[in-house]
């Protein structure tokens, strides 16, 4: 992380105290995160994978919804930045005793915490906390609203492979209705100039999604032929009970990415998935592990992206030179 330590990242456009979503960010701000993440990815390739950027800072992960990947990634990212970090899960929080989110968050803040990473099933919960907390709030996924660090790591992974977004056709396949990943991806990709198609059963396409600048398609075979990147979303089994599709088998047949379907794709197509995968449902097992898959790269990049986000938020809060980056 030589660059950041020497202050070469000072020219980056970023002065936000919170990361609530990709919707409010400009293309320049998104690029600033991706560039910073690039530096941190280099750190992660070193023998000593740790920098002192957040030394003396305290990060709390408040995860009120189940998560392994994202929570581990945030925890490790904070540790790689030398922050003190702890995680609280729903079962271990006072929320189960009926405490309100405001009280829980303010009690955590009273312990002189600098950053609060929040995962919550209610859309807007991070926006709500950011209205009154002095600590930085990082949205680690809120309902069907946004999952900005997932969006950023998806962008990072695409940029790493393809260099640029202009002219790139990205297809997002599956449960768009309930997917916060889809929303963050759509905001980020469209801001950076990619062409975005969403594809899934009509019942899982939310109203007005076209107004976000995406094309809506229902025939996955056609979409697979045209796409440079296919981002396959996890399908939740419980959606069957909400009358959104008849069965997992039927979903897999018409909207799952199979080997047969992939034969129509461009030879260098990228397959992405935010995890956890339902193998054989939305994505064939062979494809998840195959040469087109960048799924584990996404996970690795997630660490670099989350380090970048924490670094930039801390820098914005501390002022250009007042942080721990020197």
């Amino acid at each position: 992380m030589v660059d950041a330590e020497q202050g070469d990242l000072k020219g980056l456009v970023w002065d936000r105290p919170h990361l609530l979503g990709l919707e409010p960010l400009s293309a320049e701000e998104i690029t600033a995160v991706l560039d910073t993440a690039q530096s941190f990815k280099e750190v992660l390739a070193r023998e000593i994978k740790k920098v002192p950027a957040l030394r003396g800072r305290t990060v709390v992960n408040l995860f009120l919804e189940p998560s392994t990947r994202t929570r581990t990634s945030f925890e490790l990212a904070a540790k790689r930045l030398s922050a003190d970090v702890m995680s609280i899960t729903a079962a271990a929080s006072s929320i189960v005793k009926g405490e309100t989110l405001r009280d829980t968050a303010r009690n955590i803040e009273a312990l002189q915490v600098d950053m609060l990473v929040i995962r919550h099933s209610a859309a807007g919960a991070p926006d709500y906390l950011a209205r009154f907390l002095k600590a930085s709030v990082i949205n680690a996924g809120d309902g069907a609203h946004e999952h900005p660090t997932q969006g950023l790591l998806d962008l990072f992974t695409i940029r790493e492979r393809r260099g640029a977004f202009a002219g790139l056709h990205v297809a997002i396949v599956g449960d768009i209705l309930y997917s916060r990943v889809a929303r963050s991806d759509i905001w980020g990709l469209t801001k950076l100039g990619a062409r975005v198609t969403v594809c899934g059963p009509p019942t899982l396409i939310p109203p007005g999604i076209e107004e976000l600048g995406v094309q809506v398609r229902f025939d996955l075979d056609e979409v697979v032929e045209e796409a440079d990147v296919i981002n396959v979303l996890r399908i939740q089994h419980e959606r069957q009970n909400q009358m959104l599709f008849p069965s997992v088998a039927e979903y897999a047949r018409f909207f799952g990415l199979t080997k047969a379907r992939l034969r129509r794709a461009k030879p260098d197509v990228m397959i992405m998935h935010p995890g956890p995968i339902n193998r054989g449902v939305e994505l064939a097992a062979e494809l998840a592990d195959g040469p087109h898959s960048v799924i584990l790269d996404q996970v690795t990049n997630g660490l670099a992206v989350r380090m970048a986000v924490m670094f930039l938020l801390n820098r914005a809060r501390s002022g250009e030179d007042g942080g721990q980056s020197a």
Partner: protein, 442 residues
């Protein structure tokens, strides 16, 4: 049903508007012994006078959709504080909803509300009873008992009777007791889990949407039931373009169906939910711009005949949570008159006489009440309006116990300046030396 003894008052020199007689002229209104006196009658010596020059003298305004939270949730509002808020907002009568704790599903609760209103009510209170026991949608209440105890209408407001046969039977039965049925129109299977209008903004915000179809399906059902059963059916807080069109077509056919609107559904859209401010969360939810335009058109052509508020007080701490977890509802008694004058009169949607009729005569006729008119012998209730008065909404000035208002900070044109119940001046902005003393909240 208010605490006031009959009084006399001579209101002089205002523009007198009486929707029943069509009277619209500069003149006087005399209230003698709590009742409207004949036009031109001379006031007895010593009758107190109120100068209304330059102002509009209307029958006392009626808000036929109010949650007073009494009994059971008197920390949010009570009959004392809610009627003070009504007086402050220019209303002389409120119709209160039965979703209290316990539910107003039997005569005892209706009698309590009337007795409490007679002790502490600053304005008149007309209770409604529920259609079904405990608002559970399963068993009809003792409708005759509710009527005998003084209920003026039936409603499961906040809930909606999903069972069509039960609704049909309730309509038939209520007709015999001459009670109108007011319905919160919402099909649960179409709205389950929803917290806002389903559309572009629910997609962007990731909040569960409620389809307009949830309202429209039940409005369509109600049109058919009203047509078949012949009772008086009233659509509460109508909010969608499709619902307005269904009511318009039904009324054109001669079906006895009416509809009311709320100020917030005219002033805001689903785009205002951006920011997740729970003071913009209510049921039915804020709709799209096209829906708002349809509501305005429905008011302009007489499809929607009643202006109400759906005053729904909640504790600040209950609203200070994640959007999904907040209760539905916003207060409205102290902002409805400025909102309607601004949005309807000044925007050219309705004339002043039409607007006054929708807040007086129309709800009074619907509920078969003698209020809402200035004819001789009618109750001496008057609201004096200043359509040109500038208002900046400040929830800190509310006398309601609750502050959950989306109107905070809005600049509006027009307000009520005096509220008169049975000849008693209960709110007076013409003479600010006599302000309302807020009732203490419990």
């Amino acid at each position: 049903m208010s605490r006031h003894a009959p009084a006399s008052l001579w209101i002089r020199g205002g523009r007198v508007l009486d929707p029943e007689s069509g009277r619209d002229e500069i003149g006087d209104v005399l209230i003698r012994g709590g009742l409207i006196a004949a036009a031109g009658a001379a006031p007895p010596a010593g009758t107190p006078a109120l100068d209304a020059a330059g102002l509009v003298v209307a029958p006392g305004l009626i808000d036929m959709h109010v949650h007073l939270r009494d009994p059971g949730e008197t920390g949010k509002e009570s009959i004392a504080t809610g009627t003070a808020a009504a007086a402050h907002g220019g209303f002389t009568s409120v119709v209160c909803m039965p979703n209290t704790i316990p539910v107003a599903d039997h005569g005892g609760i209706i009698e309590y509300i009337r007795a409490e209103a007679a002790r502490r009510g600053l304005v008149r209170v007309f209770p409604t009873g529920s259609i079904t026991v405990g608002l559970a949608g399963e068993r009809m209440t003792e409708i005759g008992d509710l009527k005998a105890s003084g209920a003026v209408a039936l409603t499961d407001d906040g809930h909606c009777v999903q069972n069509h046969e039960l609704m049909r039977r309730a309509l038939q039965y209520a007709k015999h007791f001459a009670l109108p049925v007011l319905d919160h129109c919402q099909d649960y299977s179409l709205s389950a889990g929803g917290v806002m209008h389903e559309g572009y903004w629910s997609t962007v915000l990731g909040l569960r949407g409620m389809s307009p179809l949830a309202e429209e399906l039940i409005v369509a059902r109600n049109v058919l039931l009203a047509e078949a059963c012949g009772g008086d059916l009233h659509v509460q807080h109508i909010s969608t373009r499709g619902a307005v069109e269904l009511v318009r077509q039904a009324r054109t056919r001669g079906v006895r169906i009416t509809a009311e609107v709320t100020p917030h559904h005219l002033m805001f859209t689903d785009a205002d939910v951006k920011g997740y401010d729970t003071d913009f969360k209510m049921n039915p939810p804020l709709r799209s711009k096209a829906d708002v335009e349809a509501l305005l058109a429905g008011l302009a052509d007489g499809t929607i005949t009643v202006l109400a508020s759906d005053h729904a007080p909640h504790h600040a701490h209950q609203k200070d949570v994640e959007f999904d977890l907040a209760p539905f509802g916003v207060v409205g008694l102290e902002t409805a008159v400025p909102a309607y004058l601004d949005r309807l009169l000044h925007a050219g949607v309705m004339s002043l006489p039409a607007l006054v009729a929708a807040m007086t005569l129309h709800p009074a006729r619907l509920l078969r009440l003698p209020i809402g008119r200035l004819s001789p012998g009618a109750p001496g209730d008057v609201t004096i309006l200043d359509p040109e008065r500038d208002v900046v909404v400040d929830t800190a000035s509310f006398v309601s116990c609750s502050r959950n208002s989306p109107f905070q900070g809005l600049r509006l044109k027009g307000d009520a300046v005096a509220t008169i119940v049975a000849g008693n001046v209960v709110m007076n902005r013409i003479d600010p030396r006599r302000p309302i003393v807020p009732e203490p909240c419990r």
